[in-house]
């Protein structure tokens, strides 16, 4: 186990300073279990080709046990493959349990709709404005005498009935449509979106987002081989992403990297495939379950 953990550290040090946070990342129980089963092999990060294998792993899948907080007494945990990003075709590293309340919630289209609409509306500002009578930069004077002109009586040329006059009931200045959806609905929306993705086989869990080469063709080939869909959303637990992945994904508009704190219903639904790291799944589950079971709830 020590050899493998050292190997992991060597691999990370070979990369640039942007990956410093990875070294301090705590290993979950699942990862430790996986590491114990793997063969050890020292790896020099810079010398690997795109198609070469990174780590010698046993060919059979390994079932890992993952602790589920606040288990549902009536529904068993959902199961998902743990895949890798090191090779073009996915190697199944194991099967992990997913919480049924997070990844197996009954679908509610109305909640998803509310979340998506809120995400658009709360930051939308309507800049429409029509100048009213008072806004116009015109003379206030009575244009012609009250009587004797043969014209319709008028007090100013700014009136609404006049040509180039003001607008009576037009949109008045920039206004915002800001409102906050309740935390319960937002949290439920996330859970439903994740459940929908899981149910439709569009959710994939990987051990980490580190890929052996920064060539965008590697990433494209990987996604094409695995039929991961036109657009993919990669979710990691921290906002500091591996260098190769960042460089490769920057070439594509449809492959996006996101930290766990940026996960939102619109992005999950917009991207066809959702790829999450195991660390991200742990963090996300912990946060969502904490929200579901928190002690201080105002009614």
């Amino acid at each position: 186990m020590c050899m493998f953990m050292k190997m992991n550290v060597f691999r990370q040090i070979a990369r640039t300073n942007t990956c410093v946070s990875l070294i301090q990342r705590q290993c979950t129980a699942a990862q430790i279990f996986l590491q114990r089963c793997f063969a050890t092999k020292v790896f020099q990060g810079d010398e690997v080709e795109a198609s070469a294998r990174v780590v010698a792993r046993p060919s059979l899948p390994i079932i890992t046990s993952r602790k589920i907080q606040f288990p549902n007494p009536y529904i068993e945990p959902k199961q998902a493959w743990l895949e890798n990003m090191d090779t073009i075709s996915s190697e199944k590293l194991g099967i992990i349990d997913l919480h049924p309340d997070v990844f197996g919630t009954p679908p509610r289209m109305d909640i998803l709709h509310e979340n998506v609409v809120w995400q658009h509306k709360y930051r939308y500002i309507n800049y429409e404005k029509e100048l009213s009578k008072g806004d116009l930069d015109k003379r206030r004077r009575k244009p012609f005498p009250q009587k004797g002109m043969g014209k319709k009586r008028a007090g100013s040329t700014k009136a609404c009935n006049w040509k180039y006059g003001g607008s009576a009931h037009g949109p008045r200045g920039p206004y915002s449509t800001y409102y906050m959806l309740s935390k319960e609905k937002r949290e439920l929306g996330l859970r439903i979106a994740l459940s929908v993705k899981y149910a439709q086989d569009d959710l994939h869990i990987v051990d980490s987002l580190e890929i052996p080469s920064e060539d965008p063709e590697y990433l494209q080939e990987l996604i094409d081989t695995r039929y991961w869909g036109f657009s993919v959303l990669f979710v990691d637990d921290t906002d500091i992403m591996p260098v190769n992945m960042s460089l490769a994904a920057s070439e594509f508009g449809q492959y996006n990297l996101l930290p766990v704190y940026g996960l939102n219903v619109y992005s999950i639904l917009k991207h066809q495939t959702l790829v999450m790291t195991l660390a991200a799944v742990e963090k996300l589950e912990q946060k969502l379950l904490e929200q579901m079971h928190k002690a201080d709830v105002r009614k």
Binding site: F70, N72, P73, Y74, I75, P106, P107, R108, K129, D135, L136, D137, R139, G173, L289, E290, M292, H293, K294, A295, D296, V297
Partner: protein, 205 residues
């Protein structure tokens, strides 16, 4: 948005020039006052930009000396030795599991779920506070509704069982029940809290 600050000279007619002149003079005066830096002529304000002198408070030299950059402060030692006194007072973030009691029901009448009595077709998940998800609501005009939330499994079978229990064993003449499959809840017309609670506890939920 609003009309421009400097109006067209012609708008003022014959007095336009004079008014514009007065306005220009006032602007110049304000600019010069701002440039000089002091609101009150004659007072000596410190040149130190970090010094704040509150005119309402008597001037203490030692207080002002503390706020200056060259002030000397005693050494500070950071220690978390006594943090446990704070930690034990902080409330828990999530609701903990209830402790194991000697006998059930407890003094307040609480019963834990009993898996041996539960049927396999459906289940009722308890709330985060380990209570039955049973709610009563009184609407305007005196209408009352009772709801059971968090239903898992065959919701129609559950509805039938509850209906049978209420009509046959409890002797309620008729009960209108709404089955909401998407929302996973059952809604009764009327106040059936006690009877439904008895049924749920009987089934071990």
């Amino acid at each position: 948005m609003a009309a421009p600050l400097v109006r067209n000279i012609r708008a003022f007619g014959i007095f336009g020039n004079k008014i514009a002149q007065i306005r220009q003079q006032k602007l110049l005066f304000l600019a010069s006052r701002a440039a000089s830096g002091s609101k009150w002529k004659g007072t000596e304000v410190d040149q130190d930009p970090f010094h704040y002198h509150d005119n309402t408070v008597p001037y203490f030299p030692e207080e002002s000396a503390k706020k200056s950059l060259e002030a000397e402060y005693p050494d500070v030692e950071i220690s978390t030795e006594d943090w446990h006194y704070v930690e034990r007072v902080l409330p828990p973030k999530t609701v903990p599991e209830p402790p194991q009691h000697e006998s059930y029901p407890t003094a307040s009448g609480w019963l834990p779920p009993n898996t041996s009595l539960q049927p396999k077709e459906y289940g009722i998940v308890r709330t985060r506070n380990h209570m039955l998800p049973l709610y009563y609501r009184k609407h305007f005009h005196g209408k009352e509704t009772t709801r059971i939330l968090h239903i898992v499994g065959d919701i129609w079978k559950f509805k039938k069982d509850v209906h049978d229990y209420l009509t046959k064993e409890k002797g309620v003449r008729s009960v209108d029940i709404q089955v909401h499959e998407v929302g996973r809840f059952l809604r009764f017309r009327g106040n059936h809290l006690e009877n439904v609670a008895e049924f749920l506890l009987q089934k071990g939920f």
